[in-house]
C-alpha cells in the first residue's frame, strides 16, 4: 500500500514504524494528532511531493517513480542525503558503539571477544565515515557546481577537459563498506558466542539490520536518482560547451 497525502500521519506510522527516522530527518516529530500527511508537511514547511517520494521509496523498495523523483532540484535531494549522513554519523553509529561498549560490563562474556567486536565495529565505523566524507567533500560540491553552472548558463572552463571528478568514479565505491556490515552481522549471528543474557546482543543485531536497511535505501536513491540526474547535467554542460 502506497502512502498518499490524504492519509493521517499517525496511520503512516501504524503502517510502517520503520519510517519514523526517515520522517524525523525532515524535521517532523511525533504528536501528529489527526493531521494528514499533507497538513503535517505544510506545518513543517516540507515539500509534500518530495516527502511522499522519499517515504514511498523506503516503504516499498519496488516502488520507483524515476521520472517524478528525478524532476526535483538536485539541491533538495542533496540536502536530504546530507541529513541521512548526519543521522548515521551523529546518531546511529554512536548509538551502536554505545551498546557494544555496554557488553564489556557483561561478566559472562569473554573480554577478548568483546574487544574483537569493538575493534571490528570501529574499523567499520571509520570506513563508513570516510566514504561519507568523500561524498560530502567531493561528490556533493561537484553536483552543486554543476547545478549552478546550468542555472547561470556559465560554462565550467575546467569541465570536462581537466580530470575533473565525474560521477562514474563514484558509482563503484559502495561495495566494500556494505561487505563489512554483512560480515559484522554474520559474525554475531553465527560465530560469536552469545552471553546467557542475550538482550544486548539482540538489540545490537536489530540495530545493524535497521542501519543496513537505511543504508540500502540511501544507496538506492544515490545510484538510481542522483547518478542519472548528474549524468544528465554533465551531458547538458558538454553540449553547451561544444555549442560555444
Amino acid at each position: 500500500m502506497l502512502i498518499n497525502k490524504e492519509m493521517k500521519m499517525a496511520d503512516v506510522i501504524h503502517l510502517n514504524h520503520h519510517l519514523l527516522p526517515i520522517i524525523n530527518r525532515f524535521g517532523i516529530q511525533l504528536g501528529f494528532g489527526e493531521r494528514t500527511v499533507q497538513e503535517v508537511c505544510k506545518d513543517y514547511a516540507v515539500n509534500l511531493d518530495f516527502f511522499l517520494e522519499i517515504v514511498n521509496t523506503f516503504h516499498d523498495p519496488s516502488y520507483f517513480p524515476l521520472r517524478h523523483l528525478r524532476s526535483f532540484a538536485p539541491g533538495m535531494l542533496i540536502d536530504y542525503l546530507q541529513k541521512t549522513h548526519l543521522y548515521y554519523l551523529k546518531i546511529k553509529l554512536p548509538e551502536i558503539a554505545q551498546y557494544i561498549r555496554q557488553l564489556t560490563t557483561n561478566t559472562d562474556m569473554d573480554p577478548n571477544h568483546v574487544q574483537l567486536l569493538q575493534d571490528f565495529f570501529t574499523s567499520y565505523e571509520s570506513e563508513l565515515s570516510a566514504h561519507i566524507n568523500r561524498e560530502e567533500q567531493r561528490v556533493y560540491p561537484y553536483i552543486r557546481t554543476l547545478e549552478k553552472a546550468l542555472q547561470t548558463g556559465a560554462v565550467m572552463t575546467d569541465y570536462p577537459a581537466s580530470e575533473a571528478y565525474t560521477i562514474h568514479h563514484y558509482e563503484e565505491e559502495h561495495d566494500d563498506v556494505e561487505s563489512k556490515l554483512f560480515d559484522l552481522k554474520n559474525i554475531i549471528i553465527k560465530y560469536l558466542p552469545s552471553p546467557v543474557e542475550s538482550r544486548l546482543f539482540n538489540i545490537i543485531l536489530h540495530e545493524l539490520f535497521e542501519l543496513e536497511k537505511d543504508l540500502n535505501n540511501h544507496a538506492h536513491i544515490e545510484d538510481l536518482i542522483l547518478v542519472p540526474m548528474v549524468e544528465k547535467m554533465e551531458k547538458e554542460l558538454i553540449k553547451a560547451k561544444s555549442n560555444q
Partner: protein, 207 residues
C-alpha cells in the same frame, strides 16, 4: 546459508510478484533484482546484479546473443531459466538451462523451482554446511595473518589463482567477505592467536 541472488527480467508485475511469493515459500533466502523492460546490454545488467540465477521472459532478451555463463566479476556460474508459455518457440527455449511454464499450477511450479535450486546448489552441498576443508582452513589462517594471494601461493606451492578459488569458497561457506571479518573468525575459532596478528602487523609496518 548463502543468499541466492536472482535477476528477473519480466515486464509483468504480477508474474514477478508471483515468482517472489513462490520463491519465498522455498525456504531459501533470496533477493531479486527486477527488470521490467527488454534488455539490450545483458552484461551490464549482470555486472550490477551479479545473479546466480536469471529468470527471464525470452521475448525480452531477443536483442542478446549468447547468454554469458561465466563472468570475471562473478565467483559463480550464472544459470538461466526461461519463463515460457505455449507460444514460446523451441529455438528460444533452447537457450535456457531450465524452463518454467508460466501457466502451470502451483504444485508443479514449486516442484520445478525446487529442481532448479537443487540443480544449482546440489553440487556444492557441503558449502551449505559451512565446514571448511583442511586446505581451506590453512588458507584462511594465512589470509587472517594478512598475507596476499601470491604470498600464500608461494608458501603452499599453489598458484595465486587456486588461492583465489579457495578464498571464494571460504567466503561462500562462512558468509564472511572481508579480510578483517575472516580474521575475526579465525581468532574466534582459535585458528590464530591475537598475538600472532600483532606480530605480523608490526612486520608489515616495518616493510
Amino acid at each position: 546459508m548463502a543468499r541466492l541472488n536472482i535477476l528477473c527480467i519480466e515486464s509483468s508485475f504480477l508474474l514477478r510478484e508471483g515468482l517472489k511469493t513462490l520463491l519465498g515459500q522455498m525456504g531459501k533466502p533470496f533477493s531479486m533484482e527486477e527488470c521490467d523492460v527488454a534488455v539490450d546490454d545483458l552484461v551490464k545488467v549482470l555486472r550490477k546484479a551479479k545473479p546466480q540465477l536469471v529468470i527471464a521472459n525470452p521475448d525480452m532478451l531477443t536483442a542478446i546473443g549468447a547468454f554469458p555463463r561465466e563472468m570475471p566479476e562473478c565467483d559463480h556460474r550464472i544459470f538461466y531459466t526461461g519463463l515460457v508459455n505455449e507460444q514460446t518457440a523451441d529455438k528460444a527455449k533452447a537457450r535456457f538451462d531450465f524452463l518454467l511454464p508460466v501457466h502451470a499450477d502451483k504444485l508443479s511450479l514449486s516442484r520445478r523451482l525446487e529442481e532448479i535450486l537443487t540443480a544449482i546448489f546440489g553440487k556444492t552441498a557441503d558449502s551449505e554446511t559451512g565446514t571448511l576443508s583442511e586446505r581451506e582452513l590453512s588458507i584462511l589462517k594465512h589470509i587472517a595473518l594478512g598475507l596476499t594471494n601470491s604470498d600464500i601461493g608461494e608458501q603452499l606451492f599453489i598458484s595465486p589463482h587456486t588461492v583465489m578459488t579457495h578464498r571464494k569458497n571460504i567466503t561462500r561457506k562462512l558468509g564472511i567477505k572481508t579480510v578483517s571479518g575472516l580474521t575475526v573468525y579465525a581468532i574466534l575459532n582459535k585458528l590464530i592467536k591475537v598475538e600472532e596478528l600483532q606480530v605480523s602487523d608490526r612486520h608489515e609496518a616495518q616493510l
